[in-house]
């Protein structure tokens, strides 16, 4: 295995050459600009990227693109990100497992890298901080429909708790990161908005 590090912002080795006034102006602009940022970029965080096999020749370019397409659950950080690569139709299939030290399960991503383009083809995001995970289950269980199914005598095991990306959540609710709490054995699921602490959609109840 070979380890490398995701791109970091420049550390400013030439800063001393920049006039003091310019530093002040730039700093002020950055501070003012921060108020306009609505989607914080977690990709700038540092984590280790481990290639399961020999990294491809252009692994640096792939890692740079990767860092813009994977992000942990808000408030969590990725520790190790493991990439498994395999050839596919002249391109490369990448399976990415991103683990967080504060989360029980990893986030999994699938990408296809072809013609210098990295395309996400699937994801299964279970790297959710334990407290948030339990809160999501609790919110789901307070939903009358879900509670009705779970207390209906069929029994229910431990649910899966998965992050739903905004582009998917938009189809059912609004473009916002949500959490899906699913009791597969009872065939019920709740789409939870952690911001409002509410269940915004249910599946498998009353059917």
């Amino acid at each position: 295995m070979r380890r490398s590090t995701a791109p970091h912002p420049p550390t400013g080795g030439n800063m001393a050459k920049i006039p003091t006034l310019a530093v002040i102006v730039i700093s002020a602009a950055l501070i003012l600009g921060a108020g306009c940022i609505t989607d914080t970029d977690d990709n700038a965080q540092s984590y280790n990227i481990v290639w399961a096999d020999t990294p491809p020749a252009d692994h640096k370019a792939i890692e740079a693109k990767l860092s813009h397409q994977i992000a942990p659950y808000p408030g969590a950080v990725y520790g190790n990100v493991t990439v498994s690569a395999s050839e596919k139709d002249g391109g490369m299939r990448l399976h990415v497992s991103a683990a967080s030290p504060t989360c029980r399960y990893p986030d999994l991503y699938d990408f296809v890298y072809m013609n210098h383009e990295l395309t996400k083809t699937g994801y299964l995001l279970e790297a959710i901080p334990e407290a948030t995970r339990q809160d999501a289950i609790g919110i789901a269980m307070q939903n009358p429909e879900i509670a009705g199914v779970l207390s209906g005598g069929v029994g229910a095991g431990v649910p899966t708790v998965r992050r739903i990306l905004p582009e998917t959540a938009e189809e059912f609710y609004v473009p916002k990161t949500c959490i899906s709490v699913t009791w597969a054995d009872a065939s019920v699921s709740a789409l939870v908005d952690m911001g409002t602490g509410s269940v915004v959609e249910t599946w498998g109840v009353g059917g």
Binding site: Y105, M141, P144, G155, I164, T168, S180, E201
Partner: protein, 428 residues
């Protein structure tokens, strides 16, 4: 409206009435403050000739309604009553509790407006039935009937309770959101005799007061195993460790340790009664279903004898199927079982072992792709949603066959079941 031809109705009532006395006995001691007409013991001599009965049939829409309310909540239902008769019908409704109602619906929980009416021919009137559940109401099922007239279905036989003709049936489920959350609500596992297993049940109290718990094995009656079915082991094989309370806003873990006795065979179906002191949890809701299947590793092989009539190769194929019983989705949780394998022997009738060559081993499975009934629509985009419902493992052996009797021995390891095929000659 003069009814001359009610023989069909009466025939139905005669059949339905056969089971009524048992109900009457069952409810004899229930305290029902709402007016319930006393049983009418009518002898055959006293009963009117059904064909001479007069009653007014009103059209009532809807006839039934079911609603779910929490204590403190209220609801309104509008019922339309239409008089299709050619005479005016006085409507003086009354609320009648139903004898089969789980709980008693108090009369002051319901208001009906208007309080009375006169419905002329073809008149139609809406009655508003307002229901208000008080804060102290018990969770459960409440059934009541609003009878708009006193007309009852005539019966030549004793009728325990009047069956009102012009009535609206209302069923109300009073429920409270549980303050304590339990997961999982069942534990199912395949276990081996002589081994120990640990399981956890996590409780979360979202209320503002601590809740007492006192988990104990029990609840067999809930799962229908108190009727003489042999259990693989008794409740004393299950040790429970739990704190006495779940703190307000906190969590608690109930630890269940199972020591499967040596030599145990069969299964165990039972329950873990958490004995939660929370009125929002009913008796069923506070129960964890325990289901264990005791698996015993055979020590003696399965033996099959067969005859070979010529010098031909013998091919033996053994297949083991595994099923996932209680899950229909992928993802987290669950434990992996050991992979199955087989110890295979082949002997001639003389007792000499034949040389078996394993020529093939294969794993196969049946995988359901995403979008199945087990996948919520917002998880369709996720990978890893493959649902492997069945897997199988196959081993194939060959040996040089000679004329005579042969004996195949198969000792399975970690296999729920297996199938075998003995092919004599070209196996294709």
């Amino acid at each position: 409206m003069k009814i001359k031809t009610v023989s069909m109705i009466l025939a139905f009532l005669l059949i339905a009435g056969a089971g009524i006395p048992a109900v009457a006995v069952a409810v004899a001691e229930v305290h029902i403050p709402m007016p319930v007409a006393p049983p009418m013991m009518v002898s055959m001599e006293d009963s009117p000739d059904p064909t001479d009965m007069d009653f007014q049939k009103l059209q009532i829409s809807p006839r039934h309604s079911h609603t779910e309310l929490m204590p403190g909540e209220s609801d309104e239902i509008t019922v339309t009553v239409t008089n299709k008769n050619n005479v005016t019908v006085p409507v003086n409704h009354r609320v009648v509790d139903q004898p089969y109602s789980e709980y008693t619906f108090e009369e002051d929980w319901i208001t009906i407006t208007p309080s009375s009416a006169e419905l002329g021919p073809d008149d139609e009137m809406e009655f508003t039935i307002a229901v208000a559940i008080p804060d102290e109401a018990d969770s459960g099922q409440y059934s009541l009937q609003v009878a708009f007239t006193d007309d009852v279905i005539p019966s030549p036989y004793p009728s325990p309770y009047p069956m009102y003709i012009n009535a609206f049936d209302l069923h109300i489920s009073v429920w409270k959101p549980p303050v304590i959350q339990i997961q999982p609500s069942y534990i199912h596992d395949r276990v081996e005799s002589g081994k120990g297993y640990d399981y956890e049940v996590n409780l979360k109290n979202i209320g503002e007061e601590e809740i007492e718990i006192d988990p104990k094995p029990g609840g067999e009656r809930w799962y229908g195993y108190d009727m003489g079915m042999a259990q693989a082991f008794e409740n004393d094989a299950i040790m429970i460790d739990a704190p006495p309370v779940v703190p307000a806003g906190g969590t608690a873990t109930v630890t269940v340790h199972l020591s499967v006795p040596d030599g145990a065979k069969g299964g165990y179906e039972g329950g873990l009664d958490l004995n939660i002191n929370d009125p929002s949890i009913d008796e069923w809701g506070g129960m964890i279903h325990l289901s264990f299947e005791v698996w015993t590793q055979p020590t003696e092989p399965f033996v099959k004898t067969f005859a070979v009539g010529s010098f031909e190769p013998i091919t033996i194929e053994i297949t083991s199927q595994q099923y996932r019983h209680y899950t229909c989705g992928g993802g987290s949780g669950g434990s992996e079982d050991e992979d199955p394998s087989f110890d295979v022997t082949l002997k001639e009738s003389s007792g000499d072992p034949a040389t078996l060559t394993r020529t093939m081993a294969a794993y196969s499975g049946s995988v359901n792709l995403g979008g199945s009934d087990c996948t919520p629509p917002w998880e369709i985009d996720s990978i890893g949603m493959y649902n492997e419902g069945r897997t199988s493992y196959v081993e194939r052996y060959t040996a040089d066959g000679t004329v005579g009797e042969w004996e195949l021995g198969i000792l399975p390891r970690y296999a729920e079941e297996f199938e075998y095929t003995i092919t004599i000659g070209d196996s294709g």
